[in-house]
């Protein structure tokens, strides 16, 4: 390729980067600006203040909310891995009566956006006394439609495993559960990784459900908490809000930069949409 063409292509790529990178940059730098010059169009704070980062914890029980989001996402991810790898394995590798029908029954969940069932689910959890607890945020993603997608992905993966491996294990006297645990699961690490990444991000980003179910501040999750930083007159405290947003985004971004290949391939091939 000629140098001029190359320079031209790099130019286009750099320009196209702006809307992808600039918002994150702006979020982090603006969180260090005093609220008075929050709208000043400077790429770098002229005066640095760490006050907004402190105020985040004063205005909201932010550490508690952070913990809520983190533990919910971890529990949902672990639970989904167990449920989906077991079901995916059974549907892919074990022959049992009614298998195809039962698989179709489970797959129906893929057609139902969780927004469709939010009203009846709210009623169900309400009658169980579980509204304003974290149970709906854990149980529905772990066993409902998002978990169906995970089951589907695990099944597609287990189908590709060569049968000889299991035959050999069987000759050695291993039963099904042992074959699953010792042979199939270790081989499924890429698929499990993909499922773990998208499940974690899905839970981390969940917004409609917490807004509907949770009403106590100390029980809020991060996405819900991020919208609460206003002054006494409902004016937005941008720098505090952007500090909280930065704290929510930066840890995930760091993990992404370290493991970018797993993230990109895992997410793209599971087709998650926010």
């Amino acid at each position: 390729m000629r140098t001029r063409t190359k320079l031209f292509l790099y130019g286009i790529l750099l320009v196209l980067c702006v809307p992808f990178v600039f918002p994150t940059w702006w979020m982090i730098t603006s969180s260090f600006k005093p609220n008075a010059d929050i709208f000043s169009p400077s790429l770098w704070p002229s005066t640095w203040t760490f006050e907004p980062w402190r105020q985040v914890f004063e205005m909201q029980p932010f550490a508690q909310q952070y913990w809520n989001s983190a533990y919910i996402a971890v529990v949902v991810t672990l639970g989904t891995l167990v449920v989906s790898s077991m079901a995916g394995y059974a549907f892919a590798r074990i022959r049992f009566r009614g298998q195809n029908f039962l698989f179709l029954v489970v797959l129906v969940g893929l057609l139902i956006p969780s927004e469709v069932t939010i009203v009846p689910l709210f009623r169900i959890f309400n009658s169980l006394g579980l509204v304003d607890t974290h149970w709906p945020l854990i149980l529905v993603p772990m066993l409902g439609p998002p978990s169906v997608l995970a089951t589907f992905i695990m099944r597609q993966f287990f189908i590709t495993l060569p049968g000889e491996l299991e035959e050999a294990a069987r000759m050695d006297g291993l039963g099904r559960p042992a074959i699953f645990r010792k042979i199939a699961l270790p081989l499924a690490r890429p698929a499990l990784g993909a499922v773990a990444i998208f499940t974690f991000l899905h839970s981390w980003n969940l917004y409609l459900e917490p807004v509907v179910y949770i009403s106590t501040r100390t029980k809020y999750t991060l996405p819900q908490a991020l919208t609460q930083f206003t002054d006494a007159y409902q004016g937005q405290l941008w720098n505090v809000q952007l500090s909280a947003a930065s704290m929510t985004a930066i840890p995930v971004l760091i993990v992404f930069v370290i493991a970018q290949r797993q993230f990109i391939e895992g997410l793209a091939h599971t087709g998650l949409k926010g």
Binding site: M86, V106, P113, E115, P120, I124, L253, I264
Partner: protein
């Protein structure tokens, strides 16, 4: 004879039977989950939609098809459907076009494409709310974008508060958030197109554009279909972005179906009517999925 009994017993639990049992045990959590969190609420949403149900007034009366008549007469519904269609179509068109452009650029023999791939993909992993909030900040009347526009002598509109720009702003925010996913899928598809085919066409005197249109595009059409399905269905679920950026306004110009459903059910406490709107959403998702799979037969290129 005393020896036979344990033998036949053992024979009942053949490998095959034991396998079957393991199969059922393994799928039980997923199956119960589906029944509890998919089928039960789906049945209930149909049942609720036949009722007038106000939580505040504590009324729950069977009204038959009244909610569906209300849906047909609701003056907001055409506007809501228009906003939903506008958002979905705008998102799919911008998203796929930009994803394809980025994928083609990253498919060139250039150094540093991995670096750019990471940058274009990074918004996907930025928390949705954080991304939306910072764009909301940038799009304020006196915000960053208008600051830049001012500097070059353009008086930018109040992006999120004027009817002409609110929806397009929400679309753009969402495009940049998730276009990385489709970009990666397109990139994988482009790398699967045999170079020999493209080179042969070039030798025959076809222009690069012609090669792209007549060879590359048809060969990646299955990916185009797949990404458009995922994007459309995903676009119908947009809620947080609307809730944070515009609250459905100005007027009803950005009130998409899910946001309207939320308002009716959880702000106005009309659970019956909210359920009817849920069914409308379900039918739209179902129809789109079926339609797009039908289209696959018509315009997707098959190698054999």
């Amino acid at each position: 004879m005393t020896v036979r009994t344990p033998l036949t017993r053992r024979r009942f639990w053949t490998t095959r039977r034991r396998d079957q049992l393991t199969g059922y045990v393994f799928i039980t959590p997923a199956l119960l989950g589906s029944l509890a969190f998919v089928f039960l609420p789906l049945a209930l949403v149909v049942w609720y939609s036949l009722h007038e149900w106000n939580v505040l007034a504590d009324t729950f009366n069977f009204v038959g098809a009244d909610n569906y008549r209300k849906l047909a007469d609701d003056p907001n519904v055409p506007a809501v459907l228009r906003a939903t269609a506008f958002f979905s179509i705008g998102l799919v068109v911008f998203n796929l076009a930009l994803a394809l452009l980025l994928a083609v650029l990253l498919n060139q023999k250039l150094r540093g494409t991995t670096f750019f791939r990471v940058l274009f993909f990074s918004p996907v992993v930025v928390s949705l709310l954080a991304w939306t909030i910072v764009w909301g900040f940038l799009l304020q009347d006196n915000g960053g974008l208008n600051g830049i526009l001012n500097a070059i002598g353009i008086d930018g509109p109040n992006w999120l508060r004027s009817g002409g720009t609110a929806m397009i702003s929400v679309v753009i925010v969402q495009v940049f958030k998730n276009v990385g996913l489709n970009m990666v899928l397109f990139l994988a598809a482009l790398q699967g197109v045999p170079v020999s085919l493209q080179e042969a066409a070039r030798v025959d005197g076809a222009s690069p554009w012609r090669v792209f249109r007549s060879i590359t595009l048809p060969m990646i059409s299955p990916t185009i279909l797949l990404t458009s399905i995922i994007t459309v269905v995903g676009s119908l679920q947009v809620f947080a972005q609307i809730s944070v950026l515009t609250q459905g306004g100005p007027g009803t110009s950005t009130t998409v179906l899910v946001y309207y459903l939320y308002q009716q059910a959880f702000q106005f406490h009309a659970f019956g009517y909210g359920s009817t709107l849920s069914i409308l959403l379900f039918l739209i998702v179902l129809a789109l999925t079926v339609l797009q799979w039908q289209m696959r037969k018509r315009w997707v290129f098959h190698e054999n």
